[in-house]
Subunit: 294 residues, 2 copies
């Protein structure tokens, strides 16, 4: 399959509907609305929503059914970037090739824009016209992945580990799994739930997501060392600067890359219960994740 | 009725279950968990969850059914306090008589603790074992009230208005309605939805909540000028210091207090469709809100 065309088409689909999930512009407080819109539209690969649509299709669902959870997940991903970039957190000024939200709108509005996106994600999920039981399962899956057992916890652990030279592999894996892995897994799994996947299919998608998420984060570590700032759209070398333990500091670039490839093979293997022709997109996405330069 | 005993008993009930809605302590990142627990347990009147239980009972429901939305709302209220207190926002150091979360745990962890509580609220709502349709209506009601059409928008407007001497009444009403009003309304309304209230009953509770929320905020403005720091457990005079327009700066203490009493009468009036003996707690709470000294 032509993955490049596939990703382009899917990204365009997400981009064409994402802002329709925002409420109308308010009478007062327009700055909040501007900050939310800016953060949602300054770029990004839309990997998580694309995974959500693909997860829906691989179990035989209609991708359009999954647009709501796909966009909700992109909102949650965007909120997490806004908050992670804050001066009190990672203090990043560049994201997706543009000034970060706090640089452009100030810290207070950036905090609120993140809060607004997180809230809005659950609002559009609750108002989604869809089978009630599946909807609630999707909400639960996403909330668990993004919350204090998921992404938020991962960010806390990441901060705790900063500047410590002695982070053991077990702790690094815990950080990656929570900070990046859980939401990636929730993306493909919530697509699968939306599409009506069987427990076995959901389990396979979960294993796929877990391995893909780890591979993704290992490559993130690699790109922070060998990546091209222009292509990445964010500052490189920031992990080193902050004294972070990463897969590269523990294993070096080559070994880390090899581990990422192994995780991708595990991800692909997890898909084996699906018919070959249905597996193609998720397989191709997994390989793309480790070969990407951005 | 003995409102003091009623509030004490209800607060004790909420306090006895609130922490059971947290997940088990994680292996890493315990600081996040500590910050969340600290923020949830340093006090507070538990007004919103008490309103939620009362909203459930007034329509004939069982208060225990409403414990989950009640605790979710208290989590959302607590998250909003944590974020509002941040240096980039209101820069408050004292809350409920204790150091604010960012003073105690640092800014980064305070941001994450707020995020964690907001996420967790939706997680416990999604996992709540209850009628699917009512549950989704409650999630929608709460998300709308706390999000970019509700509390978060109100906080943005509040920040925008700071230091401007020229805030018109229309804008001040918009701020109060969103920053404080919406979540108070959602508290009593989500209780009513949980208890199976009819559309007319839900509408009455909504009018009650809207008036109560406004009265509450007017009295907040009053207490910031005439209140006792000890009783309030937070710094007084901070509105003046920040050059905020409030009901007191526009109307003076006496007129503002009178307006709050008028709103309370409107709130009580909205309850008239319910049998007299069932109205008592919500009526008493409304009167308490304007007579409180803390």
């Amino acid at each position: 399959m032509d993955l490049k065309a596939y990703l382009k088409e899917r990204k365009a689909l997400i981009d064409s509907v994402l802002l329709t999930y925002l409420p109308p512009e308010p009478e007062f407080g327009k700055k909040l609305y501007e900050a939310v819109k800016y953060s949602l539209t300054v770029g990004g690969k839309r990997l998580r929503p694309i995974l959500c649509l693909a997860g829906c299709e691989i179990v035989g669902g209609n991708r359009n059914d999954a647009l709501t959870p796909a966009c909700a997940i992109e909102m949650i991903h965007t909120y997490s970037l806004i908050h992670d970039d804050l001066p009190a957190m990672d203090n990043d000024t560049l994201r997706r090739g543009h000034p970060t939200t706090w640089v452009k709108f100030g810290e207070a509005t950036a905090i609120l824009a993140g809060d607004a996106l997180l809230n809005r994600a659950f609002e559009v999920l609750a108002d989604w016209e869809f089978d009630c039981n599946r909807k609630v399962k999707v909400i639960s899956e996403i909330a668990r992945a993004s919350g204090m057992l998921g992404m938020v916890l991962g960010q806390q652990c990441d901060l705790d580990a900063e500047g410590r030279g002695d982070v053991p592999l077990e702790e690094l894996l815990f950080i990656h799994k929570h900070k990046t892995g859980r939401l990636i897994t929730a993306s493909v799994v919530s697509g699968g739930i939306t599409g009506g996947g069987s427990p076995e299919e959901i389990d396979a998608l979960r294993r796929y997501g877990d391995s893909l998420g780890l591979a993704f984060q290992i490559i993130d570590d690699v790109l922070d060392v060998v990546g091209d700032q222009e292509k990445l759209g964010k500052n490189v070398g920031s992990d080193l600067e902050k004294g972070k333990t990463t897969f590269v500091t523990i294993f070096g670039v080559e070994k880390a890359r090899k581990m990422a490839y192994e995780e991708v093979e595990r991800a692909v293997e997890a898909l084996s219960i699906f018919p070959a022709e249905k597996r193609e997109p998720l397989e191709a996405i997994a390989r793309f994740v480790v070969e990407r330069e951005y």
